[in-house]
Subunit: 270 residues, 4 copies
């Protein structure tokens, strides 16, 4: 049985309520490579995996990707492995259908379609994190809106949509974004936002670079923890005003190199 | 005084309300061994002890066992020692009455009957964890049902029964499952479930393998923590639908090798 | 100015509402030594300091003492230093007036009277911990009773009295148990209990040995954290029945060697 | 374009609602140095940065400064870098307009005006910390007053004012104290207090020395965490009486060398 057929059968296990879509036809061959990526980007991608572990955003699950610098139609992501164990040799290249360019027997994350479909829908996005960020989960299942309560998480001010896979698929799933149709549905819920929660699952975070997407992942987790504490204190929570948030985000974005340098040095020192 | 009599006298200290049962007669000899276990299984069992410490599921107390691969009537578990200190030399073999095959002076956990009686009642179970998993304790003492709020803990969807030793024994105990009758009562409460809480004590987690039972122990703890946070946020918590849970559990089970590889590598690197 | 006069002047700073008492007369000389303590006890006392740090019971403050094995009228405790830094050379001998036998310029904890007066009032006590155990503080200031919700903290079942220094002294203090009168008042509140909370301050924990007092300190902290979580879940908390607690405490006390061995090995490995 | 003009244009990005003030005129030259600072003070300042990280008060952001021992018109603070990475070579000298004496290409924290303006307004202050201390944030955004519930945080008893930059500036800002006018407004809110919260941002902590300001930063964080827990327990929280607090603060201040010695040794051992 050819690998591709096997792949589709495998995906089919959870596809009962989700029709296969035209943009994901069977292919006779693996997609062409956009060429070897910049080693500095690969180094940052490996570091990003470890930083997300160090900061408590991912555990044995979760993944981070970067768009290929040489082609908007390709992205880079580790093979299916725990983030803490990722090395440069684990980084694979995918097309936007999330088909690996050169798998060489390496397994792929089941939910790589999150990445392919968001890169397709959002030309501005150059890096994506999918996680089960712990403090964020309760917001995704209660409908309590996640909102920025301090300047570090000002990027949340435009609103954090919640993706409910049950509504998106029209029925019951295994909760995983395991095909292109579900990836497109998630990209639709995300819209132009930097973060979307996934009900009963986790979150997806996007940005223009790896440092920004890591920063946003870390401070989404921190904001969720602090917001839960503020709500528990009673009283009224004063969130950032939209104009404050717009200005704060612009200013803070200019400082992201500071924690990134720290995080990367620590991640590499291990 | 023969060791076995001493053992029964010792157990008798808390047996006031629990009749000794027919299945646990005095024996003249230690049970026969099912043979030396596979070293790879022993290695996994030692690793499982350390992983449960690393993940905050056990502290100086708690134990994990595996059914003997060569005989359904035997199981393997460390001598009475803190999980973090367990090495291969500490692994002992027990029969389903929880009598050690070859104690050689090594002490046994008082509550080994949890393991023996569940192995007897549940042929599908090949690994068992008993713990005082911190976030789980409050659910056991309040009657608030533990329910899966995300895909990682989908295995909880069938319901998590609570074992109240006071009802099981018909009176006051020292809270410990220190004989076969109490072990059988716990197995009865567990039924076909993967997890049971123990009121005022902790939990027992079972599964078809060591990686699965460790995975379930970790994500039972995580789900309890996240569920408490979700309840504190107010609003209505959307738990996994039973059908979502059934599908998610099937899918996630296929990925357990990923965190297991990570956890084991870290546990062995210490 | 003689050292003793200086000491009394120093203590006098907060003694406005507390009369000096007859049992603490000026002395012309340092008390006699009961002899060099057993090195194994000193080793355990040093280990106890570090274990309490490792377990989050003390930070840069807090102290632990042991009654001198050769004389019920003497106790051993570190000079005034953070618990994590204590070595055998820091262990000093005190009489029950908390006067050091041989200070050699080493400073004493201001609140050593906690130890002296409890040793005087409680012949059964052979080890004492004073701490600012974080999860315990909220119980001391709210009047919500600390109660055992699982077998590990069964020793709390007799009730945990709260010492309010304002009532004990009849006025305002600096919150410190800095003289014998306040130490006696605290011992009076403690009565025959193993633990007393100190309003706006911390707790004192006593026991028949260093392993037991360390065990009790650790599980008082854990129980406080779990009880707060259980209360937050809503529903009714089922605490241990007094009879369950009595039996559980007897059984668990027999197992304390297990975590103690672990904790000590880790404390010494640093 | 001269550097100073560039600096003012840069600051101007967020100055829409804040008039430039007379005390911050353009200068043709960098300010004169007060001379090389005491190496022991620089060592303490480097240690303070790392201690604040170790204690969870700062993450990749936050800063700590010390007034120059040789001139009340100068202060010392690291270049713009994550606190954990600060070494002696990163320490720069500033005048009270927060202009660096000798930048040599090293970047400055955007919010250095917090330091300059508080040193100007408060001659008693010799060290300042600005942080995003996590447990403190919820108090700053809810209006629930931060109050001392135990002796270690007695220094909070005079009240902890909350600086709302929106009110201070009369409009929307980027939340950052990025010029002298905002720094002066913050100093005005702080008044004679040791701590002020900053709504949607963090806190500023001041004191007569580095050990004291670090101590206060740590125990402000701890008190906030414990107070949130006490409020969640229900019941009425008994805070320190003002007279108790005054006395406790005096006593505890005399013991700060104990944790400082511990913290510094650990910070330097890394």
């Amino acid at each position: 049985m050819p690998a591709l057929l096997r792949r589709h059968l495998l995906l089919g296990l959870a596809a009962t309520a989700v029709a296969l879509h035209a943009a994901s036809p069977s292919k006779a061959q693996a997609p062409a490579s956009a060429g070897p990526p910049d080693p500095a980007l690969v180094e940052d991608l490996v570091a990003a995996n470890r930083i997300l572990v160090d900061q408590g955003v991912v555990d044995g699950y979760g993944h981070v990707s970067a768009r290929h610098p040489a082609s908007a139609e390709r992205y880079l992501m580790a093979r299916s492995i725990a983030p803490e164990l990722v090395t440069a040799a684990d980084i694979m290249e995918y097309d936007l259908d999330s088909v690996p360019v050169d798998a060489r027997g390496r397994g792929s994350y089941l939910e790589r379609f999150i990445h392919g479909e968001i890169y397709r829908a959002r030309p501005d996005v150059r890096a994506i994190v999918h996680n089960h960020s712990p403090s964020v989960i309760p917001f995704g299942v209660t409908g309590v809106p996640l909102r920025p309560l301090y300047h570090m998480s000002a990027f949340l001010a435009g609103g954090v949509p919640v993706f409910d896979i049950r509504q998106a698929s029209g029925g019951m799933t295994d909760m995983l974004v395991r095909d292109a149709a579900l990836g497109r549905a998630l990209a639709g819920t995300l819209g132009a936002a930097p973060v979307a929660l996934m009900r009963g699952h986790g979150a997806v975070v996007v940005g223009p670079s790896l440092p920004v997407v890591v920063f946003r992942s870390v401070y989404t987790e921190v904001n969720a923890r602090l917001q839960a504490q503020a709500l528990a204190l009673g009283g009224t929570v004063t969130y950032l005003d939209p104009e404050e948030a717009r200005r704060a985000e612009a200013s803070i974005t200019g400082t992201i190199g500071r924690p990134w340098e720290l995080w990367k040095r620590k991640a590499q020192g291990r």
